[in-house]
């Protein structure tokens, strides 16, 4: 069965009017016998039959205008059923009844070739590109898929990032890209927050002042401190404790073969005690969401450890530290500290902290009024551990004594809560056995 569709006869035909049928249903015809006259662009064209056979049906009446591609006649050529059922002819918008009075439309007259079709072009979906700042973009037509420059030659980064590096005073040759071999904006920002302030060269022999530009990490830290100090009402409480038992335990474990690979320090135990206190008093691990007017209770503890590095103060945090056992915690803290000292802390490690410990004891200081890490509700300062006279069972003895100072945001932490938490930390460090009660 032949389903003959109205062809584009190359005059820019998009539609045609069926003028006169030269055959009817039931007629026997030969190939090239004229089937019908159609009108296109004001001239008449005869369509010869593509096949011999018997006309089964005419599908469009004389006088009707149909689109190119519409099946206009079915011819039984003896080869069996056609796979394509005849489509219902679509009426064109132009009324066919009065072609003479219809407005003289501009039909695209194409002397050579076919008229442009209306077929919607298929398109490729977006987002198929490879991600990551360091990944090499896929080669496009015309772009050579050439190997990247040998490492050690030039730093590879985008022009806007070069500008940022210049503005932040970051030497690109010292920046190691976090992914691939192209330095990203984030890499530069991380490097900037770890960089030391530059000392301006002296411009004479008798100089009374030295000017250091405010930029980089200094600038960032200053902004954070100011923001924190003048937004959250800070209250600081002190607690002096005898942590001899904890210190004895640290010595014992350090000598124990089973704990050889683990870097156990007093700080690790302070952190552990703090985490246990937070478990008991979870409201301390919250944040004040001014915009949403909500206090957000965080069910994860990203414990920040303030670290003094050659480039300044940074606070990387251990994510989900509540799930870590002692070994895990020790490793995590050790890792954080080593990375910080090497100046390689990533921005990701420094963000989304929920609560912080600052080990001011490492600097030989007893206590202070630490400023909250912006966005957090409490910060615990751990002072130096000193041999100090203490009363034990009515006697004066030399014990390992330290001071704990905790600042908290009085908007969401009231005195009772803060005191409870601090007291709890002190209790656990004074008597480690108390941790048996946390099961």
């Amino acid at each position: 069965m032949i389903e003959f569709a109205l062809p584009d006869v190359g005059e820019g035909l998009t539609e045609a009017e069926i003028l006169t049928w030269h055959v009817g249903a039931g007629d026997t015809i030969r190939v090239n016998d004229i089937l019908v006259e159609i009108e296109t662009a004001k001239s008449v064209v005869e369509l010869p039959s593509p096949s011999g056979g018997t006309v089964t049906a005419l599908h469009v009446d004389e006088g009707r205008t149909v689109d190119v591609g519409t099946v206009i006649i079915s011819i039984d050529d003896g080869t069996g059923a056609s796979a394509v059922p005849p489509a219902t002819p679509r009426e064109a918008d132009v009324p066919a009844e009065s072609p003479e009075t219809a407005p003289d439309e501009e039909k695209p007259l194409v002397l050579v070739g076919k008229a442009p079709t209306d077929a919607a072009p298929r398109r490729r979906r977006l987002g198929a590109r490879s991600g990551g700042a360091g990944a090499v973009a896929p080669a496009t037509a015309g772009a050579p898929a050439l190997p990247s420059v040998v490492p050690g030659q030039r730093v590879r980064t985008k022009p806007p990032v070069r500008l940022l590096a210049k503005q932040l005073g970051v030497d690109l040759s010292t920046v190691v890209p976090s992914s691939g071999d192209v330095i990203s904006r984030g890499d530069v920002e991380a490097a900037a927050s770890g960089s030391a302030a530059e000392v301006a060269p002296a411009d004479g022999s008798s100089v009374r002042e030295t000017r250091i530009p405010i930029k980089g990490v200094r600038k960032v830290t200053a902004a954070a401190m100011t923001r924190s100090a003048f937004t959250a009402p800070h209250v600081t409480e002190w607690l002096t404790i005898d942590m001899t038992r904890t210190m004895e335990m640290v010595s014992r474990l350090k000598a124990d073969k089973a704990w050889q690979g683990v870097r156990l320090t007093p700080l690790v135990f302070v952190a552990r005690a703090f985490l246990l206190a937070i478990r008991r008093f979870p409201e301390i691990n919250a944040r004040w969401d001014e915009d949403a007017q909500e206090i957000v209770l965080q069910h994860y503890v990203n414990l920040g450890i303030a670290a003094a590095t050659p480039r300044g103060l940074i606070v990387p945090n251990v994510k989900d530290s509540q799930d870590l056992d002692l070994t895990g915690l020790a490793h995590a803290i050790d890792g954080l500290v080593q990375t910080a000292r090497a100046g390689k802390t990533s921005p990701q490690e420094m963000s989304h902290g929920t609560i912080t410990i600052t080990n001011i004891g490492a600097l030989g200081v007893d206590a202070g009024t630490p400023i909250l890490n912006p966005g957090e509700a409490a910060i615990l300062a751990f002072g130096a551990v000193r041999d100090t006279p203490w009363v034990v069972d009515g006697q004066i003895v030399i014990r390992k004594v330290t001071q704990l100072a905790m600042s908290f945001d009085h908007r969401l932490v009231d005195g009772a809560l803060g005191s409870h938490v601090l007291a709890e930390v002190g209790r656990l460090l004074s008597d480690p056995g108390e941790t048996f009660l946390y099961v």
Binding site: G10, S43, P48, P50, G113, A139
Partner: protein, 371 residues
Amino acid sequence: MTTASVIDQQFERDRPDREGRPMFQLIDPDGALTSVGEQVGVSVDLAQELYTDMVMARRLDKEALALQRQGELSLWLMSWGQEAAQVGSIRALRTTDMVFPSYREHAAALCRGISPADLMRQWKGAAHSGWDPAESRFHIYSLVLGTQTLHATGYAAGAAMERTDEVVATYFGDGAASQGDVNEAFNWAAAGSLPVLFFCQNNQWAISTPTATQMRTPLHVRAAGFGLDAYHVDGNDVMAVHAVTAMAAERIRDGGGPALIEAQTYRFGGHSSSDDPKRYRSDDDVASWDLRDPLRRIDLFLRASGVDEDFFETLTAEADAFAVDVREACKSIGGAPLDDLFDRVYVDEHPLLDQERDAFASHVATTGSEN
């Protein structure tokens, strides 16, 4: 006697000749020998051969137009009406003579053994050219008007250097004769005395432009001005075309230099399947040329010469069978996919095309091809 009148008289002979010479003719439109035809005689055998060629050519042309109307070909340029001009000329050349056609010489192409599929290939949009010029000694069609006349001239320069007795023939139309390249070729060939046979099928129309608008003097008059031997022939008299071409070619082979043959013929169809000739020419014009149809006159001549009905019946059957072949050939035409074409631009390696080929391949792998 004034100076002006002396000058006028001196150059009277060189005023533009708007009449030219009469056409050479052996058989008149009704199939009867002309007085020249009677004088020199006409071979009935040759007439039968050439008639066969013309019948096949016309059958292919009609079938191709029908196929175009059926959506099987994008475009078809009809050779309908020009069969005698093409068949008569090409059959008078050696099969080894190189021919540079324009784009309408389907009857000539068939005589050189080019298959219907190869002939229709570019009109289906499957390729830009259909056949191997080395096999048929028939260059690929040129769609830029007249460009082939320069190529033919260069080719002939090679033949001249090698001192062969080839003739290099080139076909072009009345419209193309206005192009710079054609006139450069006339001059170039004449200046170098190159063995070029310029064959103009003057089919009276360049799309809608009649020859009266196209030129002031007849082409065969212009040619002589360039320094070409010129001939004027009834292009619808296949025997006359054959005779003139044979003679002109012989003279060229003998070192006589290039020649131009202007063959008067008629384009029965429009310029192409997209053209509607009713918009610019009258039915009377067509009717008058219909009386001079090249096939009809030889049909009449052969019958009058005693060729029996068998011949005509057999020929009709062959033509019908040929039409079926043409139809099937058309449907069998397929084009090369785009990724094959990257290799056909340059002979030597090209890094940009290598990259683009790869880019296209990966694009197709992820998105799929349009074809």
